[in-house]
C-alpha cells in the first residue's frame, strides 16, 4: 500500500535559477523505511520541508494515504519531521519536550504523562524526564528528539540526516534504535541523507536524487549491484567503466570477449565492475596485469592495474596486496557474476 505519493513536485527558490526540486515523482510504501539519498544541494531537505508543510510547493501534489495534504498547515498533516540537530526546547524538561506535540493538540495531561513515560522507556531515557536538555549527552538528546516525534504516532516520520551528526560509536547505537523502533511501530519513515553508507545501513529502499530528479528507486542491494546509470554507479563508488558492445551474452571490449552473467539480455555499451569484486591472484580465468600503484586506505588497499592498455582499479585486503609494488606482474580475475552492463552511455 502506498503511504506517501509525490507527484510532479517542483520548488523554485529565487527567480532566475533552476528549480531546486524539479517534477519529482516518488511513492513510499506504507511501513517502509525509505532513504532519499542525494549529494548536498540536490534538494533533499527542500523535499522534506515540502512534505512537512514548512515550505509550499510551486507545482505538484503531495498525497498521504491517498489524500492530498498540499494545502494543509504543518500541524494538521500527521507528518512529523525530526531535524538533523535534536532541537530540544531548552526551557522545557525532557518530558515536557516529549509531551510537547500532545499538549499542542490538547491531549489530557494524564494521558500526555502516560504516553510520554511509555515513550521515554522505549528510547531508554526512563528516569531522565525531569532533566533539562543541556544535562543530556548528544546521543540522549537525539533519542529524546526521536521520542518527541514518535509519541505523536505520525502517519509519516521524516528524519533529516539522523546519523551524520554523531560520532562513530553513537552511530551504530542510533541506527539500531531507529531500526528497532521503526519495526516496532511500523511507522512509514523517510530518511534524508547525503551519506550513502547511512542510507544503506538504514533503509529498505533508497530513492537516489541526482540534480533534482529521481535517478533510481530500489533496494540498497539492487542499487549496489545493478545501478541504473553510470551516474548512479559513480555515486556509489563505482570507478571502472569499460566501453564496448554487448551481443549474444558476450561483451566485446579492449579486454577481448567477456561472457556476461546469465539473464543479461539487454544491450549496452558500457560495462562496470566494482573495484572490490576484482580478484587478485592465480585462477582459471585469470588475466595478466601490471601494477601501476598501491595505496593503503586504512582497511583496504587500492591497487591500480593496467590490463593491456585498459586501466582498472581494484580494492583488496591489505595482506593480499602487501607483496605488490609498482611494475609487478599480477594475475587478475574479473568474476562473471560481478559484471554489470549499463544501458545508455
Amino acid at each position: 500500500m502506498t503511504a506517501l505519493d509525490l507527484a510532479g513536485l517542483t520548488k523554485r527558490y529565487p527567480v532566475n535559477t533552476a528549480p531546486t526540486v524539479q517534477a519529482l515523482d516518488l511513492t513510499v510504501e506504507s511501513g517502509s523505511l525509505t532513504a532519499l539519498l542525494g549529494p548536498s544541494g540536490s534538494g533533499k531537505t527542500t523535499v522534506m520541508k515540502l512534505i512537512a508543510g514548512l515550505l509550499t510547493p510551486d507545482e505538484g501534489d503531495i498525497r498521504l494515504g491517498g489524500q492530498s495534504i498540499r494545502d494543509l498547515p504543518p500541524e494538521r498533516r500527521r507528518v512529523v519531521m525530526v531535524f538533523q540537530s535534536p532541537l530540544l526546547f531548552p526551557h522545557m524538561t525532557v518530558a515536557e519536550n516529549v509531551g510537547f506535540g500532545l499538549r499542542m493538540r490538547g491531549v489530557a495531561p494524564s494521558q500526555t504523562a502516560a504516553r510520554t513515560a511509555a515513550m521515554l522507556e522505549k528510547v531508554r531515557l526512563t528516569g531522565l524526564g525531569t532533566r533539562r536538555p543541556v544535562e543530556l549527552s548528544g546521543g540522549q538528546q537525539q533519542r529524546a528528539a526521536l521520542a518527541r516525534a514518535l509519541v505523536l504516532e505520525p502517519d509519516l516520520l521524516l528524519l533529516d540526516e539522523p546519523l551524520s551528526n554523531l560520532d562513530a560509536s553513537l552511530r551504530d547505537e542510533m541506527r539500531d534504535l531507529i531500526l528497532s523502533l521503526q519495526r516496532e511501530t511500523g511507522v512509514t519513515t523517510l530518511v534524508v541523507t547525503h551519506d550513502q553508507s547511512e542510507a544503506v545501513i538504514l533503509a529498505d529502499r533508497i530513492a537516489l536524487l541526482l540534480d533534482g530528479r529521481l535517478a533510481q528507486h530500489a533496494t540498497p542491494d539492487e542499487i549496489y549491484r545493478r545501478p541504473a546509470s553510470r551516474a548512479v554507479a559513480e555515486f556509489f563508488g563505482g570507478v571502472n567503466f569499460l566501453p564496448g558492445q554487448a551481443a549474444g551474452g558476450v561483451f566485446q571490449s579492449d579486454l577481448g570477449p567477456l561472457p556476461l552473467p546469465p539473464g543479461h539480455i539487454k544491450g549496452g555499451s558500457v560495462l562496470t565492475i566494482r573495484p572490490e569484486a576484482i580478484v587478485l591472484g592465480p585462477g582459471p580465468d585469470a588475466r595478466d596485469a601490471t601494477v601501476l600503484a598501491c595505496t593503503f586506505l586504512g582497511t583496504q588497499t587500492r591497487v591500480e592495474l593496467d590490463l593491456g592498455g585498459t586501466r582498472l582499479q581494484a580494492l583488496t585486503n591489505p595482506w593480499a596486496a602487501s607483496e605488490l609494488a609498482p611494475g609487478d606482474r599480477v594475475d587478475v580475475t574479473l568474476p562473471q557474476d560481478a559484471l554489470w552492463l549499463l544501458s545508455g552511455s
Binding site: 508543510g53 514548512l54 498547515p73 540537530s85 518527541r148
Partner: protein
C-alpha cells in the same frame, strides 16, 4: 608588586568617583539643616523623607505617574519593537541599511531637536498636557532601543526550533507562546529594562509635551532642587534611583548569573 598596588589605587579612585555625587544627596536627605562650613550635618532627621511621602509634597503621586508612563511606554515599545527586531535580526532585505538608520536616528538625535516640532504637532492633535501625549513622546527614543536590542536577540535565534514545533503540531500562536517567546525572553527583559530606564529618565520631552501638567519625578525633583529644598531634593533623588538599582540587582542575578546584565547598546 608595583603593578598590583597601582591597580588597587586606580580601582579605589574609580570606585570613589563613581559613588561620590550620590554621597551629598544621601546625606542631605537625612540632614536637619546642614550649614557651611560643617563637613557633616549637626542634626539628623527623617523630616525630608516624611515630607516626601506626605500627600502635600506630591512625590508619591509623581512616582506612581512616572512608573505608569515608563511601564506603558515599555509595553507599547515591545509590541512594535519585537516584530521589527525580528525582521531586522533574521532577514536580509533591500533597504535594510536605510531602515536601520531610520530606527537609529530617534535614539541619537537630541530630544530638543524633536521636542519643539513635536509640541507643534501635538498641539493640533490635542495631546499636549496629557499623559498619553507624554507616553507617545517617550516612544520616540524608546522604540529604537527596543527594536535594536530585539534585532540582536533574534540574530542569534535559531528559527528551526519554530519549524520543529510546527512539525510537532503547534499552531502559529502556540509556536510563539511556547517556543519563540521563552527563547527571546531574557533578551526581551534586557530590552524592557533599557526601555523602562530611558522613559524613566526623560526630562525635556515630558516638560515640553506635558507642559507642567504631567508632573513626573524628574520634574518634581527639579522643582525642589531649584527652590533650595536640598533635603527633600536628596530624598527624592534617592527614591528616583531606586527602581534602576532594583532592576539591576534582579537582572544581574536572574538573567545572566553574572554581573553582565547591562552592556549598553545606545544609551549614553
Amino acid at each position: 608588586m608595583r603593578a598590583d598596588v597601582f591597580r588597587l589605587i586606580a580601582g579605589i579612585t574609580l570606585a570613589l568617583w563613581l559613588v561620590l555625587p550620590l554621597v551629598p544627596l544621601a546625606i542631605w536627605s537625612f540632614a536637619h539643616g546642614w550649614r557651611f562650613p560643617d563637613i557633616l550635618p549637626r542634626d539628623w532627621s527623617l523630616k525630608a523623607w516624611a515630607y516626601a511621602f506626605s500627600p502635600t509634597s506630591g512625590v508619591v503621586g509623581s512616582l506612581g505617574l512616572t512608573l505608569f508612563i515608563a511601564a506603558a511606554t515599555t509595553v507599547l515599545a515591545a509590541l512594535v519593537g519585537v516584530p521589527a527586531g525580528r525582521a531586522l535580526g533574521l532577514h536580509a532585505f533591500r533597504g535594510k541599511a536605510i531602515v536601520t538608520l531610520v530606527l537609529l536616528a530617534p535614539a541619537i538625535v537630541p530630544g530638543i531637536a524633536v521636542a519643539l516640532g513635536l509640541h507643534g504637532v501635538f498641539l493640533r492633535l490635542g495631546l499636549t498636557g496629557t499623559v498619553s501625549g507624554v507616553i507617545l513622546a517617550h516612544l520616540i527614543p524608546v522604540i529604537p532601543y527596543m527594536t535594536l536590542i530585539m534585532a540582536s536577540v533574534f540574530s542569534s535565534f535559531d528559527t528551526t526550533y519554530e519549524d520543529q514545533a510546527r512539525s510537532l503540531g503547534a499552531r502559529p500562536h502556540q509556536v510563539f507562546i511556547h517556543v519563540t517567546l521563552p527563547a527571546i525572553l531574557p533578551g526581551l527583559m534586557i530590552g524592557a529594562l533599557f526601555a523602562f530606564l530611558v522613559s524613566w529618565s526623560q526630562y525635556l520631552l515630558t516638560l515640553s509635551i506635558g507642559g507642567g501638567r504631567v508632573q513626573t519625578l524628574p520634574l518634581t525633583l527639579f522643582t525642589f532642587a531649584s527652590s533650595g529644598r536640598n533635603d527633600v531634593t536628596g530624598a527624592i533623588a534617592m527614591i528616583y534611583i531606586l527602581p534602576g538599582l532594583l532592576v539591576l540587582l534582579l537582572t544581574a542575578r536572574h538573567l545572566t548569573g553574572r554581573n553582565a546584565a547591562l552592556t549598553p547598546r545606545v544609551a549614553p
